[in-house]
């Protein structure tokens, strides 16, 4: 049985490297928001209230390109569809928490917390405390980095400093050790194929992520079932 202090310590240690990547991403968001002529307050409040890297960066890019309010909201809805998948996948993990706490934890659902939460769940079963600490650390990193990015504004170029590389590289570092089983590898290879084809035939389509996320697991299931019957 793992104790609470031990869980908190483990969560902080495991989440720290990812928090750095999130901070790099948050810094980019802050800088870009300044370049879109957003005030310091608007920039920070969007991070405090929305807490979604992909939504925020996409919206800032759309503000810069002069998109309309309805267009931006529809984009946000599409980008958020993957949260439904994340939530459904995390539900068992968060189920032991009280409803009030679960609502709070739901606010912390993001690409990164979802990945760490699932890795933990596979190893030790449901652990809402672990998820809460991870999400709390990510939230702090995101808000503080957004503030710093907005504050230093025009001084740095995120691309020149490689801040944009932190996110994909972090996910590669998380993905590779998970590829342990034939069915998981098959899912990953299928996702790679589907995502690449979709990007080729429908570039910049917000549904690409969702379609890949919905279809690829069927291949993993098929391989797993076949392995069971051999």
């Amino acid at each position: 049985m793992l104790t609470k202090p031990h869980t908190v310590k483990t969560a902080l240690l495991e989440a720290f490297p990812l928090a750095l990547a999130i901070a790099a991403y948050g810094l980019s968001y802050g800088v870009l928001a300044t370049q879109a002529h957003w005030s310091l307050w608007s920039t920070i409040m969007m991070s405090v209230l929305v807490f979604s890297g992909s939504v925020q960066l996409m919206i800032i890019a759309m503000v810069i390109s002069g998109a309309t309010l309805p267009g931006m909201i529809i984009t946000a809805v599409l980008l958020n569809l993957r949260n439904l998948l994340y939530g459904a996948s995390l539900a068992d993990n968060l189920a032991p928490a009280s409803r009030k706490y679960r609502w709070l934890l739901a606010f912390g659902v993001s690409d990164e917390s979802f990945v760490l939460g699932n890795i933990r769940y596979q190893k030790y079963g449901a652990d809402p405390l672990y998820f809460g600490v991870v999400a709390g650390l990510f939230y702090s990193a995101w808000v503080i980095a957004s503030y710093i990015g907005a504050y230093i504004g025009d001084l740095i170029d995120p691309v020149r400093w490689g801040l944009d590389l932190a996110f994909p590289i972090t996910f590669v570092a998380l993905l590779i050790p998970s590829l342990t089983d034939k069915s998981i590898i098959a899912t990953a290879v299928t996702a790679l194929g589907i995502a690449s084809i979709l990007h080729y035939i429908m570039p910049t389509n917000e549904f690409n992520l969702i379609i890949t996320g919905v279809i690829s697991p069927f291949v993993g299931m098929y391989i797993a079932r076949r392995q069971q019957h051999v």
């Binding site: 996948s89 590779i176 998970s178 998981i184 990953a188 996702a191 996320g213 697991p217």
Partner: protein
Amino acid sequence: MSEQWILILVLCIVTFLSRLIGVEMMAGRILHPTLRLYFNYVPIAMMVALIVDQIVITDQGSTSISLPIVGGAVAATLMIKVTRSFLPTVIIGVLVGLGIRYLLSS
């Protein structure tokens, strides 16, 4: 109230609802074994999709591949396989990506 603040509030509501619906509607329910097996594979699929999303760049209708990200990802793959340690892997991956970007721009 300015349009900016309306946008922030709407984004806040839309994003939170999408998070809450998944967690709340499924929480505490006994999932059918097939559905449980399916959700086991969703994280891997989404991670790969997110990585591909970053690697493929679309600019004014034309699609290309980000060589700095691909190079950084290959370096990160080798590093994590050899060292099994996360933070140095990310740092080396980003540095290799930056190196490739520098070489391409010079």
